[in-house]
Symmetry: C2
Subunit: 292 residues, 2 copies
């Protein structure tokens, strides 16, 4: 039984990124720059942004944050993005999602320059991820982190049955597309699926990204399955410092007895997502600066 340690994998990746940043700075006098546009004050969004700031600091990236009140207009968000599009010191831009409900997410993301879309959510990027023979400029961070964890844990993907639970634009769908690029036989299970337990039990590789705490029980798993738990669900816990703690979509205590490998929550996929964001931003900077 392998507990896949996302924290230490992410640390290794950050170390090699830091080395590349030093090399880039020495040779070009520049460092990669990441900009985040944050609308409103959601606690989880603030926590994610803090993690990104810390990670950028650690590897020597420039970081810029544009904070807008929840009451701001779509135009103000688009203006913030346009300014970052034009800013040569910024190579990667992301809008911290979810946006408040009254915003048209698609319209706002359309403003973002393709070359700086380090989240990889632009439809042209997703299309190029889907189409065989094309290459997207960026692969979305969480799916990319999932695949990295599989590859670094020597999990065979080609020909294996993979099940993705959840079909969000951010995780489920691009994870399906990426697993298929790696030649897995992939199925997506979602809220309308009949008998999700039976389908999930067919998986050699399971990616749980439903956002439902403890959805996947031990009985849902094929013995020896590899389980990547993308869920980060806060549940009340009076004994913890903040009054809550984070659990995944998979019932960890049951799953460890049946899976051959599993990511914990926290400390599994989460740290890898941030590491992949750094990697995408580094790639964007290399392209912009013609640095290899």
């Amino acid at each position: 039984m392998l507990i896949i340690d996302g924290i230490s994998e992410a640390e290794q990746i950050r170390s090699s990124i830091a080395v590349e940043v030093s090399r880039m700075k020495e040779s070009t006098g520049k460092v990669p720059g990441l900009a985040v546009v944050l609308v409103g004050q959601r606690q989880d969004s603030l926590a994610y942004v803090r993690k990104k700031i810390m990670a950028c600091h650690e590897v020597g990236f420039r970081f810029s944050l544009s904070e807008l009140p929840e009451s701001c207009t779509e135009e103000e968000v688009c203006d913030a993005l346009s300014n970052y599009n034009k800013d040569a010191s910024i190579h990667g831009i992301l809008v911290q999602l979810p946006l408040p409900q009254h915003f048209d997410e698609g319209k706002i993301l359309n403003v973002l320059s393709l070359e700086k879309d380090v989240d990889g959510f632009h439809p042209l990027n997703i299309g190029n991820l889907a189409i065989q023979g094309r290459e997207p400029l960026f692969i979305p961070c969480t799916p990319k982190g999932c695949i990295q964890l599989l590859l670094r844990s020597d999990v065979e993907i080609v020909g294996k049955r993979a099940v993705v639970i959840g079909r969000s634009n951010i995780v489920g769908l691009p994870t399906f597309l990426l697993l298929q690029r790696h030649h897995a036989t992939v199925s997506i299970v979602h809220a309308y699926s009949e008998n999700p337990e039976m389908i999930t039990r067919e998986a050699d590789i399971l990616v749980a990204a439903a956002g439902v705490p403890n959805l996947v029980r031990g009985s849902w798993l094929k013995p020896g399955a590899v389980v990547l738990d993308v869920g980060i669900n806060p549940i009340e816990d009076p004994e913890s410092e903040n009054g809550y703690r984070l659990i995944g979509d998979v019932c960890f205590e049951e799953a460890v007895k049946i899976a051959s490998a599993i990511t914990p929550v926290p400390g599994g996929v989460g740290p890898m997502t941030v590491a992949m964001l750094l990697q995408n931003t580094l790639e964007a900077a290399k392209r912009a600066l013609h640095f290899t």
Copy 2:
């Protein structure tokens, strides 16, 4: 047991398109126009183009064909496309695929105006088909025809298990995306899949698009499954007029005993593909002419 009659379904669709064309002509003085760029002389491509010409003629579309020799340059193909892009009497353009091997298909398809991409193969269209909450300008014709056959045969899709065999950019992948839009639980089986027979046997709805004659045997089917056979494979037949006949990816004689509904080859999905191309071209013309 239902033999799904693609010929008569397509005929009904063409009839209603013809009515709309008359209405359009009366009101705007214009009719939808379709242009095809054909490179080389492949027998199957010529046959497909002939079918498109006949269909356009039947519903009252304008049709334009640009034939180029196999020895032509990429630039000449792009020039032909650019001319059609600018031609206001042409609302839909397609490049008859496959192109000869030495062409960069992606590069050529990029030239095509998004608003006239009636095949729906542009990465932005595929991305918008993949992403929930977005709408592609056009849905690729064969997948759209498959869904139409299911809907017109009153096959329930929501929550059902669908298996797509084959993951081509033209059929397999967009069919997956479209079935998922209709809330099926979809898996893609491909050349690397281990145990494709077992996975296929889980399907309530099977779309076979592998291009391998008689790949799917009776034993591959769940009793009562609905089977859409997209394969069009020529096999030698000395008794037939041309020395060959067309068969599907599914062994029809065995499948009819087990499936609840099936499309024949020929006369199933094929005619619907052409009907959907007409429908996409009509939509393109309506948008261009602001005609509703």
